[in-house]
């Protein structure tokens, strides 16, 4: 190794062969030397053991600290994950599939976009879309079957129709809850979590003889919040200001008004054919907040309708009316094809009632649907005396389990679709839940660093090229990125690049050049980056510039003679780069690369500005909830410190192994 490389490697002066003048080494140096002498597999095994053990230990320790400080018994490792299951029984049906489309096709599509689960009761239409198939059966019934429910399908083509026989799941039921056991043929799901409440001792009405059960007077509470999930036994609400979801049993609720959407259609116009570009007019009441309901449609005024027989798009035009009466009148007269009505008050069933009361108005209700998630709801609990198990008690307060957990069992082969909602708590038996805190910090750092190495190596090689274009491009990248704070780059990735990629559009407003200048619109491939990848991209592009400079310096530190020797042996430039220069350059740049890795681990704390739950963000949340800043930030700092110390040890070991014999 030449002198320059040895200096760059920051190695101590080389001992002479007779071992004179060796500086005494401490136990740390000896340990590094011992570890560097182990075979590769032992080192990798050691790293895995340390990382897994550390992660588990720290997440457990972290949770214990929080539990000690917050006294929150909700955090436990048996919350494996939260799942939504669609359960159904199979049925076989036979029918004809004709090639047709009409006003109904479009309305059907609208309904199904809003509410795929309840579509099958209403269609008379016979068609096929990308997501489902509608059949008219031999006995005159027409049914729509979502394609994902279909188990088996047989088709026979005739000139004007297709005979179809399908087996599919019917009567699907949605089960939401936390999976607690998946052994055997059944799945155990806790649909209602245990809830404990704390009351003043003075409220206790009576106790049973064993002293286990207690009856307490409780006031009926009025709760307002955002509906999160809804099932037959309970509802979950996100109450503003609270971190966790509030779960309430339905039988404790006295009053609950859920926003309800009604869609009524004008019967005679249903079979009217619609061609691409034409409209289906749908009435609504001015001022009604249909936006939330139609959010799943993404567009308020245009719905893409992939029709089976007419390629292209038909549109849904929304027509506003001032009052419900006007809208009903217009629909029954056929001025519009359908009527959408949304209300969360006592009037929410008005359209349904009106249609039932006016059988001669030529209208029928095709969709009556309560909000299932995402809407604002208000509910009132009953005033009650509740009886519950005593969880804890002291002189002033008593904690009672007011809601016992409810679990149900589901046969695995009846499960149609399993959607994991949130991964639950991180634990050895639920690694999917390990997606926050240290785990997020580490995964983001590792991914970003791997990407930064690729970017850095690429631009580092470009930086030593004689081609002026390549040199200019790489220098521009390095100088621009190095001149911008990493925080700003992260904000760019999260709030500029990512939304533009999501829309697939980049729009530049050129009005400042003159009023008649049109906007410049650049179409990009549509890519949906999640927050984690925004952070990875931001970090890797930010660090790529520094790593490119490290690689450039490393390549330039290898004497010209090496390249000449390689070329004189007949190697091409890329061959010489790959086989001769880069292997030596990488030895030289290992220490600075290791330093950059540790720096990146620390800088990954910046990703909390993208609202990612990394280590720092969790610490901050904890501090803002408990106001225990010392404990919170101490925990965060120590966890970072342990990680960086371990990593710098790894860097030393790798450096030592990369050393050449002298």
């Amino acid at each position: 190794m030449d002198e320059r490389a040895r200096q760059a490697l920051d190695l101590p002066p080389l001992p002479d062969n007779d071992n004179e003048g060796i500086t005494p080494v401490g136990p740390y140096e000896r340990f590094i030397g011992w570890a560097a002498g182990l075979p590769w597999w032992a080192i990798i095994l050691g790293i895995v053991v340390v990382v897994v053990g550390y992660s588990m230990l720290t997440s457990e320790a972290y949770r214990r600290v929080i539990r000690q400080l917050t006294d929150n018994p909700q955090v436990s490792t048996d919350d494996l994950f939260f799942a939504v299951l669609l359960v159904g029984d199979k049925e076989t049906t036979t029918g004809m599939l004709a090639r047709a489309d009409s006003v109904e096709t479009v309305i059907q599509q609208l309904i199904e976009e809003v509410d795929p689960a309840e579509a099958d009761d209403f269609g008379i239409l016979v068609s096929e879309t990308q997501t489902e198939i509608t059949l008219r059966t031999d006995d005159g019934r027409t049914i729509t079957i979502p394609k994902r429910d279909i188990v088996d399908e047989k088709r026979t083509e005739t000139p004007d129709a297709i005979q179809v026989e399908v087996t599919y799941f019917v009567d699907t039921e949605i089960v939401t809850g936390t999976v607690t056991d998946r052994a055997g043929d059944t799945l155990t799901i806790r649909t209602v979590d245990e809830v404990s409440e704390t009351f003043a001792v003075s409220r206790v009405l009576s106790r049973d003889e064993q002293g286990e059960l207690v009856t307490i007077q409780r006031e009926g509470e009025i709760i307002t919040g955002t509906l999160d999930t809804l099932n037959n036994t309970s509802i979950k609400i996100r109450v503003p200001g609270a971190d966790e979801l509030r779960e309430i049993r339905r039988n404790e609720i006295v009053e609950l008004n859920l926003p309800t959407l009604t869609l009524a259609v004008h019967d005679p116009g249903q079979e009217r054919p619609v061609n691409p570009g034409e409209e289906v007019r749908v009435a609504y009441i001015n001022g009604a907040d249909l936006t939330n309901v139609l959010k799943e449609l993404n567009r308020l005024d245009t719905v893409d309708v992939p029709l089976f027989s007419v390629p292209g798009e038909a549109q849904v035009a929304l027509v506003g009316y001032d009052s419900l009466d006007d809208a009903l009148e217009a629909t029954s007269q056929g001025e519009v094809d359908a009527l959408l009505y949304l209300d969360d008050g006592p009037e929410r069933l008005a359209v349904d009632e009106w249609v039932t009361a006016h059988p001669d108005a030529n209208m029928s209700v095709v969709l009556l649907r309560e909000c299932e998630t995402g809407c604002q709801v208000m509910l009132k609990l009953e005033d009650d005396a509740i009886t519950g198990r005593i969880a804890a008690e002291d002189a002033e307060a008593i904690t009672v389990v007011t809601t016992e957990a409810v679990t149900i069992e589901v046969d695995k082969d009846r499960i149609l679709e399993e959607r994991r909602m949130e991964p639950g708590t991180c634990a050895l038996n639920n690694l999917r839940g390990c997606n926050a805190g240290i785990f997020l910090t580490l995964t983001v750092t590792f991914r970003a660093y791997a990407l930064a190495l690729i970017i850095g190596l690429m631009f580092g090689i470009l930086r030593v090229q004689t081609n002026p274009v390549l040199y200019a491009v790489s220098t521009l990248y390095v100088e621009v990125i190095r001149g911008i704070p990493l925080l700003v780059i992260l904000l760019y990735a999260g709030f500029v690049i990512s939304p533009e990629l999501r829309d697939g559009l980049m729009i530049f407003d050129l009005q400042w050049l003159g009023d008649s200048m049109p906007d410049v619109v650049i179409r990009l491939p549509k890519i949906n980056l999640n927050d984690e990848w925004e952070a990875v991209l931001g970090l890797s592009f930010g660090y790529g510039a520094f790593i490119a400079e490290i690689f450039r310096a490393g390549i330039q530190s290898i004497g010209r003679g090496q390249m000449e020797a390689a070329r004189s042996l007949g190697m091409s430039y890329p061959q010489a780069m790959r086989h001769v220069v880069l292997p030596q350059a990488i030895r030289v740049v290992l220490p600075p690369l290791g330093n950059d890795f540790i720096a990146m681990l620390k800088d990954s704390a910046l990703i909390s500005v993208l609202a990612l739950p990394d280590l720092l963000q969790l610490g901050r949340l904890y501090v803002s909830r408990t106001f225990r800043a010392l404990e919170g930030y101490n925990t965060v700092a120590v966890l970072y410190l342990v990680m960086t110390i371990f990593l710098s040890m790894m860097v030393r070991i790798i450096e030592r192994r990369a050393r050449l014999p002298q």
């Binding site: 190794m1 030449d2 490389a5 004497g559 003679g561 090496q562 000449e564 020797a565 390689a566 070329r567 004189s568 042996l569 007949g570 190697m571 091409s572 061959q575 086989h579 001769v580 292997p583 030596q584 030895r587 050449l660 014999p661 002298q662």
Partner: protein, 249 residues
Amino acid sequence: MSEKEPIIQINNVHKRFHTLRGTVHALRGVSLDIMPGEVVVVVGPSGSGKSTLLRSINRLETIDGGSITVDGIPLKGARNINKIRAEVGMVFQQFNLFPDRSALGNIMLAQRVVRRRRKGEAEAKAQELLAKVGIPEKADTYPGQLSGGQQQRVAIARALAMDPKIMLFDEPTSALDPEMIKEVLDVMLALAKDGMTMVVVTHEMGFARAAADRAVFMDEGQIVEIDKPDVIFSSPSHERTQRFLDKIL
């Protein structure tokens, strides 16, 4: 190629170096033909352009005027320059061994990458060449653990591994301690006896007398004198050659 045809044809070659201080005219119309099997020694004061001439032969330096033809292929604009380079072995003053590879690895690398030889084949060849240069026991030693003379012998073996038709030596002994010079020169002498075409930039008069067919004296980018080494070193016809020889002998 017939015996009469020169293997290297250097014809009126010019080379200028552009530096911040101005242009240096390093080669000023150099012409030289070298026959197959011939050993040519190039001597001259430093800055006379002898190294530049040598490096031009495998296009480590590109020339500004004139032409160089190696083994019948003109270098200018040659697409297969890597093929030519593989046919022309070069030994450097500073050895330029790859420090991260063992002696064996140094000799095997280009065989594997350029000649696409199988590993066993390349290894056998490398062992054979290490034996030829007299250090078969150093196969697994890294350059940092070898003496200068040993390193230079590995470098020669590395160049020979490509089965070159021509070997270029750029002051191969100048960076060596005196007691190591002989071991390198012995290897070169043996090579010359085997009939290798060699162009050697050196100040080793002993080697030149023993092995060289012709000696070339260069000064200020021009060839001053070409003759048999005995003639050049004992009775040079040019006064400039005489002055140079007076200084070094």
